[in-house]
Symmetry: C2
Subunit: 501 residues, 2 copies
């Protein structure tokens, strides 16, 4: 685990893509058959190996991405943690959604056979890594952890923004999985957009995950949908994460600037819009933004795109600058930025949608001054139909008096996560996390963070009248893995039966 230069030849390879697909497909059955305890132990082994290699990995990541050591240290801890959390999840077994219907000759619509259903792995998964989380949404990130936990062979398409880190991480992962006894072919790394597209089209790939831009994500989603055999494509694309505040004091505005500028605003949950009442005093924004140091953007492409977006926003009619910020490019084309925050009123926002509404990936946000609080729900639905997050900041009495009910309904109908107080950046990895919302936040509504994300890589299979020995372990009466089984007994046609008729 200390060799930082040699990559594991089975992890990254220049093999033809069809061989990569064949290796993944060839591992599928053996991997699906592993017990949760063995597969969980392998995930923990990967977590341990990543933690052991932290020094090397973080040094490479700092160099390749420009992200700060503290941020990357926290991100790697989160990454190894989510592997451990998935180990718990699969050993617990509730995720299998096991249902057993005992045979019932008296079932009301005719004799019912013995039927047993569980979720089983879909087969090989292709995961397109993101640029902005070189650990948590990359080679060993959440999508990878979920696919491996589900029992699906995994191929990761490395992001070009941190290739050395990707190879090094892949080497750590592949070694740990092999040493834990997992079958060959369960984990592979590929590089290059063309290779990614070729593999996405390969019939042996059964599902794909992606985190990145709306443009690229939609392109890949369309490819997945137009295959001779279409497959589910779980893309996390764009979100501007609006925040609605009923007041704006200095503490709120300072915290807002911190959320906008952390990791140079290159987070999918960065608040892109903050709505405040007209007349709110905004000086604290300028003060807070001025105190934020210059931060490198992830790569030259992101730097160029941000520079252009910033110019568009600064040049839009009706915009007042609170913090102009700075962007500069160095000799190698890398861009460095300090936060840009502007303010508009609602009319100016509506009149300049093209310049203002698009996601700005980087340290930039727009404060919108509103007059009509009652109009916010309709305004939100019109402007922001699909969001990873939406946030409410309100005083205790407003939260209690029911006046926010309509706004909260609008936010819940258009967002994966609704926050009350706090800021959307800093996504926790837990059972109840939802990181995915209506398009374009995600291509499906599925979550890509938290333990519920494992269901993306599972499908239901029922066994009818099967002998015990030919059933998967979770469906057997003896229940050797001790997973939760929901049983519908014979003689009670209402199944989990609370309804009074």
């Amino acid at each position: 685990m200390t060799d930082t230069t040699v990559t594991d030849s089975t992890a990254t390879s220049a093999r033809p893509i069809s061989e990569v697909a064949a290796a993944a497909a060839g591992a599928a059955r053996a991997f699906a058959r592993t017990s949760p305890r063995d597969r969980g132990a392998a995930l923990v082994a990967v977590a341990d190996a990543l933690d052991a290699a932290a020094g090397d990995l973080i040094a490479i990541a700092m160099r390749e991405t420009g992200l700060a050591e503290a941020r990357l240290t926290g991100e790697l801890r989160r990454t190894s943690w989510q592997l451990r959390l998935f180990a718990d999840t699969i050993v617990d077994g509730a995720y299998l959604d096991v249902r057993i219907d005992d045979a019932d000759p008296e079932y009301v619509i005719g004799p019912r056979p013995d039927l047993r259903r569980m979720l089983e792995p879909v087969g090989p998964v292709l995961n397109f890594a993101a640029s902005n989380f070189p650990f948590a949404f990359s080679v060993a990130g959440g999508d990878s952890a979920a696919a491996l936990a589900a029992g699906c062979p995994l191929v990761v398409k490395a992001h070009s923004g941190h290739l050395e880190l990707s190879r090094r991480t892949a080497s750590v992962v592949a070694s740990a999985l092999r040493e834990a006894g997992m079958p060959e072919g369960v984990f592979q790394l590929i590089e290059g957009q063309e290779n990614g597209v070729e593999l996405l089209k390969d019939e042996r790939i059964r599902a794909a995950a992606f985190t990145g831009s709306t443009h690229v994500g939609r392109l890949l989603a369309d490819i997945a949908a137009s295959r001779p055999v279409p497959i589910p494509f779980y893309g996390e694309l764009g979100s501007v994460n609006p925040v609605y505040a009923t007041y704006a004091d200095d503490a709120l505005l300072s915290a807002f600037v911190a959320s906008v500028s952390g990791s140079a605003g290159q987070l999918c949950t960065k608040p892109g819009f903050l709505f405040v009442p007209e007349g709110a005093e905004l000086d604290a924004v300028t003060a807070a933004a001025t105190g934020v140091g210059e931060h490198r953007l992830l790569n030259p492409g992101i730097g160029r795109a941000f520079t252009q977006r910033r110019a568009d926003v600064l040049g839009a009619d009706g915009v007042t600058v609170l913090s102009e910020g700075e962007v500069r490019a160095d000799d190698e084309g890398q861009t460095y930025a300090t936060p840009t925050v502007v303010t508009v009123d609602v009319d100016a926002l509506l009149a300049n949608r093209e310049a203002l509404l698009e996601e700005s990936f980087g340290p930039l946000s727009v404060i919108v001054r509103y007059r009509d609080a009652a109009g916010l729900p309709a305004l939100h639905e019109e402007l922001f139909p699909g969001n990873l997050t939406s946030t409410v900041h309100a005083r205790a009495e407003e939260l209690a008096d029911g006046s926010l009910r309509d706004l909260v309904d609008s936010l819940a109908e258009t967002s994966g996560r609704v926050l009350f107080g706090g800021w959307p950046t800093g996504v926790s990895v837990t059972p109840a996390m939802q990181h995915g919302g209506p398009y374009p936040a995600t291509t499906s509504d599925a979550t890509s963070v938290g333990t519920a994300s494992i269901t993306r890589f599972l499908r239901g299979v029922s066994y009818q009248g099967a002998p015990q020995d030919l059933l998967p372990a979770p469906l057997r009466d003896e229940n050797p893995w001790r997973v939760p089984q929901r049983r519908s007994a014979a003689g009670q046609s209402t199944t989990w039966g609370a309804f009074a008729r």
Copy 2:
């Protein structure tokens, strides 16, 4: 509920499609807010109303579809039953998958906020009704029941094969929902393929379901995927439902013919192929098929397609006829048929894939004689990559000795339901049913029968740091609906925590 002639004007309408979409969207929030007990009571009211109208409904269905009274009586009972079953399901509340993470300042990857997640309705659903189940997969069928149970406003696109029945059923459903106090706009019927396509493209429709041919289903799936805002499309398309027998005695062959010819073979789970050992005596097939009376096919289009398929199969090289059967068209273009069963060996099947492998929708099946039992798993995977069902018929000692392990693995990897003995037709409606498998069986792997089908019309939403009063009822500490809540307490970073480290 006794008026058989006047259709409810709010149910079927000639309104512009955009108004239909607007009405559905307008009902979404009020419907989503109904309590499970109220929504469940409305489903039960619909079930009661359908049962009360059974005489009228079945008479219309017999005339429009040519299906027999006994079959339609059973189908209507199943249809009202699945509404009642969904009422139970939503009152029970496990389908909401409620997860509550208590705030945890000591959470290993950083302070964890109070996070609560549940599944919420996706919004308006469009359901394309099928021709072959005028009750169970039509206006008030399984997809409709699942969408309404989930709390999604529903628009059904009527199948042209039973328009009068569709209107009459819609009238019964709309009246019952209204009398039960459900909001206007939660249920609407539209007619015509063009209207269906127009509505599928409407941004207010958030998910669609379909049961029908692979050709039409794929067309609609592609439309759903290529919208500016893509939506999930749950299509149940084609399946040939292979059966693998290690022996063939008279009882097995007679039961096979009964499964092939029931409802004139117009069932999505009809066994299209029966594999038997070479040398098996097949005379019983001819005897059983000869005893089956003529049956009308559903409509002229299906009759013409079946006539052509039958001719292709009978004309294929290597085919031996066991029961030629008959087809004839009457003056109105309706087709009447008796069962056609042919046999081929594996080599002839492989040499004539184009003629033989396609689904024959009607009373026709192919018995394949195999020599090499060990080769069946690979043969199955090559020929039948996506099936609603696959079936094994074997003697007790073979089921016990492990020799079928590989075959069962192949079937489970390619099918939604694997049967041991019995026949795939006659799908029960239960918690553990899976009616959906790898493409082309379905466009997704989701089930369209049984209580698990409700998840198709739900999406996850998390609430972070929310005051109790602004949380949906299932997420509140007081838990007024008494739904299962899975809670992750503070202080134990492993969540449902069984894994030993």
